[in-house]
């Protein structure tokens, strides 16, 4: 009888379920996984090193490109670390705008996760539904920052500009005319806040739609219930954060425990799972969609009633307005200095973390008093999750690996940095 040896399987990086560039070397006994070895570094492009050679404010766009599914949350972590270093606080209206856009980002991220996770497991429709809603939120990004993805909207000392009074509208074209344009522009008659409010009113119904497709779906449950169970103790030991930790039943959320921005002024709940399997993590994220929606609605109410500045009025750190810059010599000097040299925080170090959609995203900055950070360390939430890959898939079938990757919500931009 020939000797039976474990089979080694190479998964990715060119694999449709690899979420970009995950490469796994799987050691299999038949179809059961004995060991999984994730390989990283395929998207490494030295963000931390590049940040050391650029003034503080010029590194903000790199943060967008770290976790390119939840752009503004990564910015928030970095900007908050700089603010801590400088000892400044953004105005209250900026805090609310940041809260609102963090939650919009959370919905964006969770929709992306939901679509791809369901697609990997075999449900095509959810993917199409999820991307339909993402388009609306992308329009919100575009309205405030001018770009659909990499916004660079948060700045130290506030946000770059106030919310627009007029939502951009569709224009008639060769193919879309008359009544069709009106239908498309229906929600875009008012300001950005009106547009987001319209979205928020529709959104709970849309989440119900996803849930009808998945939550009680027999196939979905067969693929996710009981897969990759992580006990609460083990989840803490492994350094899990965000929905991965909450799925295991630990109510840890930086928005509540170490409140930042305006999260202490809004009302929301933290969903927690019971079993710690893929299905619970799915339920947690779905509930987070609803909670985010609640937070956004509260922020809209507040923002409507309270106009005010969105940037600190300290031109050593924030940019003077365009008009001031054109009229006033001093503002021109400030403008020039800010965009060439930047600002020099005092010597020291600061760590600030935010609850990004994937977990705790933190930036640790050491400043030696220059206009560039001496060292920037990024704590990416995906890294510990991926490190637990081996433990999570051990003893499961090959097809379950895809479900586990999906439920981890890995994005390689932040893992490889």
């Amino acid at each position: 009888m020939p000797e039976i040896r474990n089979f080694t399987l190479n998964f990715g990086p060119q694999h449709p379920a690899a979420h970009g560039v995950l490469r796994l070397v799987l050691e299999m006994d038949g179809e059961v996984i004995e060991r999984a070895d994730p390989h990283i570094g395929l998207l490494h492009r030295a963000t931390e090193k590049l940040a050391e050679s650029k003034p503080y404010n010029q590194s903000i766009p790199y943060m967008d490109r770290l976790d390119y599914v939840s752009m503004m949350c990564s910015e928030h972590g970095y900007v908050r670390a700089i603010e801590k270093l400088l000892g400044i606080e953004a105005p209250i209206r900026a805090q609310y705008i940041r809260t609102m856009f963090d939650e919009i980002t959370r919905i964006l991220n969770h929709l992306m996760w939901l679509g791809t996770h369901a697609l990997d497991v075999g449900a095509m429709t959810v993917f199409l539904y999820a991307f339909r809603e993402r388009e609306d939120l992308m329009d919100c990004y575009e309205a405030v920052s001018g770009t659909r993805m990499h916004a660079a909207y948060y700045r130290p000392g506030g946000v770059y500009r106030d919310l627009p009074e007029q939502m951009p509208q569709y224009q008639a074209s060769q193919w879309v005319t008359g009544r069709d344009v009106e239908v498309r522009n229906q929600a875009r008659q008012g300001s950005l806040l009106d547009f987001i409010e319209d979205f928020c009113n529709r959104f709970p119904g849309l989440v119900d739609e996803y849930e009808t497709l998945l939550t009680d779906n027999r196939i979905w449950k067969q693929r996710t219930v009981g897969i990759a169970v992580v006990s609460p103790e083990r989840a803490m030991q492994l350094g899990f954060t965000g929905p991965m930790l909450r799925g295991s039943g630990i109510a840890w959320d930086l928005r509540k425990k170490q409140s930042y921005a305006a999260y202490d002024k809004v009302d929301f709940d933290i969903p927690v799972g019971k079993e710690g399997d893929c299905y619970d993590r799915y339920l947690v994220r779905i509930e987070e969609l609803r909670q985010s929606n609640r937070i956004i609605q509260q922020c809209i109410d507040w923002l409507r009633k309270n106009p005010g500045p969105v940037m600190l009025d300290d031109n050593k750190i924030t940019v003077p307005s365009r008009n001031e810059m054109k009229d006033d010599m001093e503002s021109l000097i400030h403008h020039f200095k800010l965009f060439t040299e930047g600002f020099c925080p005092p010597v020291g170090e600061a760590y600030a973390a935010v609850e990004a959609p994937k977990g705790e995203f933190g930036c640790y900055i050491i400043s030696d008093g220059a206009n560039k950070p001496y060292r920037l360390k990024i704590r990416a939430p995906g890294f510990p999750h991926l490190a637990a890959m081996d433990e999570m898939v051990k003893g499961h079938m090959l097809a379950d690996v895809v479900a586990v990757i999906g439920s981890m919500d890995v994005v390689f931009g932040e893992i490889d940095r």
């Binding site: 040896r5 060119q14 492009r45 991307f131 993805m149």
Partner: protein, 237 residues
């Protein structure tokens, strides 16, 4: 690579007066049925699904994602390519069947973009493989992606998009750049020179000093050793 000789190649002069019409028809059909290889490097991976799904809907142009490089026509490089990924990209590119087209999306593939200072990224994609079309921007919008794809379709239809032949004709140049990055021992499983000879695509730049270097170091291919090692016993012979 002996099996390649079994693939028939039609070299005969075509006397049929209708052949030009057929060529036109073939090119038309080719340009209307394109499969994009689903290999996402970098941020572009997020802007492609919107281009495929309902609002922008790439499928109305006959463009669909495809999971295997053997059946795909277009290789989309979406965003920064680190040196480690570039190896995989080249392997993938060489595995694709001709005619094949490469599109570089995002500024990072054009000249390094925001990461031009980085030690870990390959800056210009067209030094390592022929690129048919660049779509610049960080991120290009889905409209731009679709406009770019339409332009590629036009170029395929008119017969201009033949840069894949360039990879065979100037293999020495591309190989030289690859060797500069990956070291002298760089070797891919695909034997480009034999393929070029077989398909009559030898050019002046196919052979040169870099291919000579390749021949010096070339080892016969064997299965990759992917055992994980430490808790495994040595296989008994």
């Amino acid at each position: 690579m002996s099996s390649i000789n079994q693939i028939p190649v039609i070299n005969a002069k075509r006397g049929n007066p209708l052949s030009k019409v057929f060529d036109e028809l073939v090119r038309f059909c080719r340009s209307r049925s394109l499969f994009i290889l689903h290999y996402c490097t970098g941020c572009g991976a997020i802007e492609l699904p919107p281009a495929m799904t309902s609002r922008f809907d790439m499928e109305r142009l006959g463009i669909q994602p495809m999971v295997s490089p053997r059946q795909a026509d277009i290789l989309l490089i979406t965003g920064y390519v680190s040196i480690k990924t570039l190896k995989r990209v080249i392997l993938t590119y060489e595995q694709m069947g001709s005619p094949k087209y490469v599109i570089g999306i995002c500024s990072c593939t054009v000249n390094g973009g925001m990461y031009w200072q980085s030690y870990a990224t390959a800056k210009k994609l067209d030094e390592y493989m022929p690129v048919d079309l660049y779509i610049a921007g960080c991120m290009p919008r889905p409209e731009a992606v679709i406009a770019g794809l339409q332009q590629l379709m036009d170029r395929i239809h008119s017969g201009e998009a033949n840069s894949w032949e360039d990879y065979f004709r100037n293999y020495d140049y591309y190989l030289g750049n690859q060797q500069k990055l990956f070291g002298d021992h760089w070797q891919t499983p695909t034997d480009i020179i034999t393929e070029a000879k077989h398909y009559n695509l030898m050019g002046e730049g196919t052979l040169g000093e870099h291919t000579r270097l390749l021949e010096q170091h070339q080892k016969p291919l064997e299965a990759l050793d992917m055992r994980l090692g430490h808790n495994l016993k040595e296989p008994t012979k």
